[in-house]
Symmetry: C2
Subunit: 284 residues, 2 copies
């Protein structure tokens, strides 16, 4: 009887940590700063939506989006489509000059898995041979050497017409509902919203087909889009993102797959790539 | 050369139909009417949210919710919490009489799989040994004879405190983001929103912890909740839901798992249970 308290204490010390405990205990080496040279700050309806771009997934589209930002093509543009449980979409008005940016690009909906450092998830997926994270971005892969950005909540993709090479990044969408993974390998994923997704997801839904707003009066104004590296330091989001190749992130994933560590009754012993939000924090 | 057009025609005729074509071709036998005796009509902010209840998944909670409706306990209640990419939650104000309805119930987060007619999905799942649909509701099962309602977009669950038996149905939530399947087996699923989910998903997000609104002034009024069977016929939603045990639904699922049938470039050869919305139509 006398040793019971000590035994309990040892058991508690050995218990795997919950998801918040993992985040709180993550060392400095487990964090990287937001890449300001690849981060968009989009002023929407008076608020800011911050999007980290993923040049590893769609290099030509990301470069073209940066060219569009440099040309100030997105300033005075608008959100024109909000379809419930699907996407919010924005883009340039008709006739807007894009400067030297390309008007169309070859589709970049997938790439070789080789060269992409994927921290794999050890759980089955309904769509792909494997899933995981590449430097903070949710990705999936087949068994034949191909990989692609996964369409998860807050993922940002490139709108296009039916022709695969009709997109350019001048029309973008963010996922605001259950992950439409059927878009994987069909649309280029160029980044993810790291702050302010609720400024898109809580917008009124459009009443036309596909959620387009019926009238221009409903369009939601985008006044300005800048790269973080263009902004004065005090206007940047001072964020760190957990390195998805770190032991801390592996421990975080394990805790998310077994929520009994967070006090749940039952752990599901699994989690899907789109139900894991990469931890981030204000830089200490 | 001469036979090429005919060969093409035959190939087209033999091609599996796309998802909309399946719905359009579904015979009368593939549809069932909305079960008005188990359907809630909730007036929120001047609009209507319609929820079909799932007595097969949580019989005591569904019966208790119906007792709360009969006691008019939900009239003049409110949405008090909207957490982005998670849930909108509503419930009775403090001190509200619940009539003869129970104030707490044993948890009904899972049940025996036996007796539940599950049309299985043939694709892997990140959380469960199997998934499928039981009379229109997304469900999952383990390999040991247990089944449960899946927390998909628009699923409705029972809020509770930490104690498993602290819920009653007086506090409910609807999923408004990526499926939080980690709630499976931990919270009772009592139904799904069949119409008007955007009246919850587009609400302003609460700014307090867990998305609770900061002030009562932000609460979104619920003026009235009734069963369809209580309403005059012309106030009911005249909906039919595709029978999820029908050949049409199996064909629909196959089309959703291979969107090349809908003109996509690449089919993913799979789909997760929460990315399939059961087709419905206005009764002809």
């Amino acid at each position: 009887m006398r040793i019971a308290p000590l035994a309990l204490l040892l058991a508690a010390a050995a218990a795997p940590p919950g998801s918040q405990a993992v985040v709180d205990a993550a060392p400095a080496s487990a964090w990287r700063p937001l890449d300001q040279a690849n981060t968009l700050y989009m002023r929407v309806n008076g608020g800011t939506v911050v999007i980290e771009l993923a040049p590893a997934l769609a290099p030509r589209h990301v470069a073209n989006i940066k060219a569009l930002v440099a040309a100030r093509a997105f300033d005075a543009s608008a959100v024109t489509r909000v379809q419930d449980n699907y996407v919010a979409q924005w883009g340039l008005p008709e006739g807007r000059s894009t400067g030297p940016a390309a008007r169309t690009l070859p589709l970049e909906a997938e790439r070789p898995a080789a060269g992409l450092a994927i921290a794999p998830l050890p759980y089955p997926d309904s769509y792909a041979a494997g899933t995981g994270f590449a430097d903070g971005f949710p990705v999936a892969r087949d068994g034949a050497g191909r990989a692609w950005g996964a369409h998860c909540y807050a993922s940002v993709g490139v709108g296009r017409d039916a022709a695969p090479d009709s997109g350019s990044g001048a029309e973008l969408f963010a996922v605001i509902g259950h992950a439409p993974r059927h878009l994987d390998r069909n649309y280029a994923v160029v980044g993810r919203v790291v702050s302010g997704i609720e400024r898109l997801s809580a917008l009124p839904r459009g009443t036309e087909a596909l959620g387009f707003y019926k009238t221009p009066a409903e369009h939601v104004p985008i006044t300005q889009v800048r790269l973080g590296s263009e902004l004065p330091p005090d206007e940047r989001l001072n964020l760190e993102v957990m390195r998805t190749d770190s032991p801390s992130f592996a421990a975080y994933v394990a805790a998310r797959a077994d929520r009994t560590r967070d006090g749940f009754l039952v752990g599901m012993n699994g989690v899907d790539v789109c139900n894991i939000r990469v931890p981030q924090r204000v830089r200490p």
